[in-house]
């Protein structure tokens, strides 16, 4: 793992993106201390103000401070999406590794349950579950986990099967290594890059998902600030005050993009081969966009 951190530190994009996400998360955690205004305090006289020194991002249709709402909205959005991601990835990894490692009956049972879950379109399933359980943050997390876990089990199982076919795992089995050792040292370490990529991409997708649900009015309830809901409210005044969409839209865009880049960088740093000039095609676009240089380590 020492090599991983070394490569990760040398990757400017990875460090930049991590710092950005760290900053966003810190801002979100410290929102009550940092926010200049109460995010729900209305002041109808000052509505639709442009950015100024008193209101950095301006005010919305009820005269609430947009900057404070973005800070408090980030708390909800990021907390919920990271929580959902952790739960889905843990379920996906445990079941996926079991199915891929033991194969046979265990695999069959897990996969058939996944097939059943996957036969429902996930958006409809989420809407249905939220519809039954009612709106609210807990129910969104629950609904997203129920709708998504099967897909992650599938993905992680196929990653695991690919590793199980390798000779070094065969050797470890013949040498008498325990199942725990093989899973920890070979499977998880090998698969963690791809799982990390899944997890970070997943976080990005869930942020969009929760924002979408709030946008539809099924997620976080007003007056609580949440990025998707802010976008929803901005939509109502789109024709008269299009600038209202800028702040929540950019917040969602930047955080989602940051998580996506982080996923790519983790994968790159985990694979010692990539630094040796064996870069695979999937990185070439990113590299050219950001002028990323090959990192020479050791």
């Amino acid at each position: 793992m020492a090599g991983f951190w070394k490569r990760f530190r040398n990757d400017n994009l990875a460090m930049g993106v991590s710092l950005f996400l760290l900053m966003v998360i810190t801002l979100a955690i410290l929102a009550p201390l940092l926010a200049p205004y109460d995010p729900t305090a209305q002041n109808i006289i000052d509505k639709f103000q442009g950015p100024s020194l008193t209101h950095w991002f301006g005010t919305d249709q009820l005269g609430r401070d947009v900057f404070s709402r973005i800070l408090f909205g980030g708390r909800v959005t990021i907390l919920v999406s990271v929580l959902t991601m952790v739960v889905t990835i843990v379920i996906g990894t445990v079941l996926g590794v079991m199915a891929g490692y033991f194969r046979g009956t265990v695999d069959d049972v897990i996969m058939r349950i996944c097939d059943i879950m996957l036969s429902f379109p996930s958006e409809v399933l989420i809407l249905a579950i939220v519809g039954i359980l009612g709106t609210g943050i807990t129910n969104i997390v629950l609904a997203t986990v129920i709708a998504k876990w099967a897909w992650y089990v599938r993905m992680i199982r196929s990653i695991v099967i690919q590793f199980m076919d390798s000779n070094y795992i065969r050797f470890a089995k013949v040498a008498g290594c325990s199942t725990g050792h093989i899973v920890r040292k070979h499977l998880l370490v090998g698969a963690i890059g791809e799982i990390a990529v899944l997890a970070t991409l997943d976080t990005a997708a869930i942020i969009l998902n929760i924002s979408a649900l709030s946008f539809l009015g099924l997620g976080v309830q007003p007056p609580t600030a949440e990025w998707g809901m802010m976008l929803n409210e901005a939509k109502n005044v789109m024709t008269t005050n299009p600038g209202q969409m800028l702040a929540p839209g950019m917040a969602i865009f930047l955080v989602v993009a940051a998580f996506n880049f982080l996923g790519d960088s983790i994968q790159e740093a985990l694979n010692p081969k990539i630094n040796r000039g064996f870069k695979t095609k999937r990185y070439s676009l990113l590299d050219s966009l950001f002028g990323r240089k090959k990192v020479v380590t050791e």
Binding site: N167, R170, V174, A175
Partner: protein, 254 residues
């Protein structure tokens, strides 16, 4: 000499790809009988698809046979492997995929030592192993992709002999190496066998390499052992397939 390994009426079949509903199977091994004496080197020859690798996987306990028995010293293979951790080992053909790309040479060699439980003066043990297989100390902290094919295969051999095994399966261990490196590795394997008294099962399709190293050669054809010869009496093959295979070796003079 006592038999180390005894295989009786071994059968193995796989489901045909794509027609699982019909349940039709392809029979890979069809009643294999063989014995391997302790301390000997047995070559297993057969063309692609004859079931060599399947047989090797069954012997290593990686898969279960449909029928028949695999006995090590009279004990079922699974039990024997459990009781004798580290006493069986393997060297694969594809050296690039047989070491975890995230392991350094030291970590790769240490793995079976840890697995067998006896961890004393690990550093010195690894140094001795590296000397034994003819590798320099500088490569200790390198990753697999930083080694040449011959070096990496030597690492695989060092890893295989790390726990003083009694039985090693060499699954086409030299097939993907250059010819000059092949002969070096063959010499190394021969020396190790004498020094450490290891029994080899040498799976290969290259008759010349096998006849050089082995005392006994088995010909596997369509899931059965069709001919069994001592290495000195290759000319006495009776089976048609074995004779064809022997005839197909291109002789060359220097």
């Amino acid at each position: 000499m006592a038999n180390l390994l005894e295989i009786k009426d071994l059968e193995k079949s796989y489901l045909k790809v794509g027609v699982n509903f019909g349940g039709s199977r392809v029979k890979i091994l069809n009643g294999v009988n063989l014995t391997i004496e302790a301390g000997s080197c047995v070559g297993l020859i057969g063309e692609s698809g004859s079931g060599k690798s399947t047989l090797a996987r069954l012997i290593m306990g990686l898969e279960k046979p449909d029928k028949g028995s695999i006995l090590f010293e009279g004990i079922p293979a699974k039990q024997w492997i459990k009781n004798n951790k580290g006493k069986m080992s393997v060297v694969f053909q594809d050296y690039t995929a047989s070491v975890n790309p995230r392991y350094t040479v030291v970590e790769a060699i240490a793995e079976p030592i840890y697995a067998s439980g006896a961890v004393t003066d690990l550093d010195q043990r690894i140094d001795r192993l590296l000397v034994k297989v003819g590798l320099e100390h500088e490569i200790k902290n390198r990753y697999p992709h930083e080694l040449s094919g011959g070096q990496l295969q030597r690492v695989c051999i060092a890893r295989a002999i790390a726990t003083n095994p009694r039985f090693i399966v060499l699954d086409e261990a030299i097939s993907s190496l250059d010819v000059s490196v092949q002969s070096q590795i063959l010499k190394l394997l021969h020396r190790l066998r004498i020094e450490m008294n290891i029994t080899y099962l040498f799976v290969a399709h290259d008759l010349q390499a096998v006849s050089h190293l082995c005392n006994k050669i088995l010909f596997l054809y369509q899931g059965q052992i069709v001919e069994e010869l001592q290495s000195g009496e290759l000319a006495m093959a009776k089976n048609k397939y074995a004779r064809d295979l022997l005839a197909s070796v291109i002789p060359f003079e220097v």
